[in-house]
Amino acid sequence: MANSNKTNFSSPEFLNKLKDRDHDAVESLVKTYSSHLVNASFGLGLNESDAQELVQNVWGTFFQNIQNFEGRSHIRIYLFGILYNKAKELYRERNKHTSDIDLNTYFEDKFDDTGHWALTPKKPEEFIESIQTSGIIESCLNKLPEKQRMAFYLKEIDGASTEEVCNVLKVSATNLRVILFRTKAKLRDCVERKMQA
């Protein structure tokens, strides 16, 4: 996560100003993180109006709970934690259907009896070409459970550290590795399937 703040947002002085709804403090915080949060919302697959609604809700929750925020976690992590929960709510409301892979059948289908891959994969160059234009990746991402989508966005797209992602998702590093492995395997499978369709 890029850190562009000049103000120390975690200092007690700054937090007190925020709690008093000091105009300059609110403005500098909101201006520092809004585009970051909107970028994440787009990255999670939301359109403009949903992204706007989501990030406004994130700030709403943030300012409602500001009195209890003690600055123990970094404000950035805290905001992304709220975004994660709000995005989950939004997807639940929309009744989006998501599914996780069944690892047993995944391994059965993919490999032959000797433990080798059953199919020869496309060369990366050809693969890249087929995913460039169409919205294949987006529609595959949209099928992922919120946790996987968020892990993928933060770790792979945003470039956040393992520690930061673990903090936002409240999982261990080992957990995160497994989540990312499944997510990337599932994404690849889905993209391949859609390419052939």
Binding site: L37, N39, Q52, F107, F127, K184, L187
Partner: protein
């Protein structure tokens, strides 16, 4: 050496990876072209998705501006 299936199973397991596990993964990927290709395909998805997201930069900053204006107004005027 581990088979491709064993490598995938290890990566998908909740088990904490030790030095030996990490070494055997590295070794497998260095000699197995098929596993490398699958990995490269996954990396290609990330790369292309990043580029596609970058192309939405204008709507991202426009949306952010709308959020900023309404949020700053709402939470400083009470």
């Amino acid at each position: 050496m581990k088979s491709c299936k064993e490598v995938s199973q290890l990566l998908a397991s909740d088990k904490e990876l030790g030095v030996f596990d990490k070494l055997s993964l590295k070794l497998h990927f260095s000699v197995c072209k098929v596993c490398r290709t699958y990995k490269q395909q996954q990396e290609a998805i990330t790369k292309v998705y990043k580029e596609r997201l970058k192309k939405k930069n204008t709507s991202i900053s426009e949306t952010a501006k709308k959020v900023e204006d309404s949020v700053i107004k709402k939470y400083t005027e009470e």
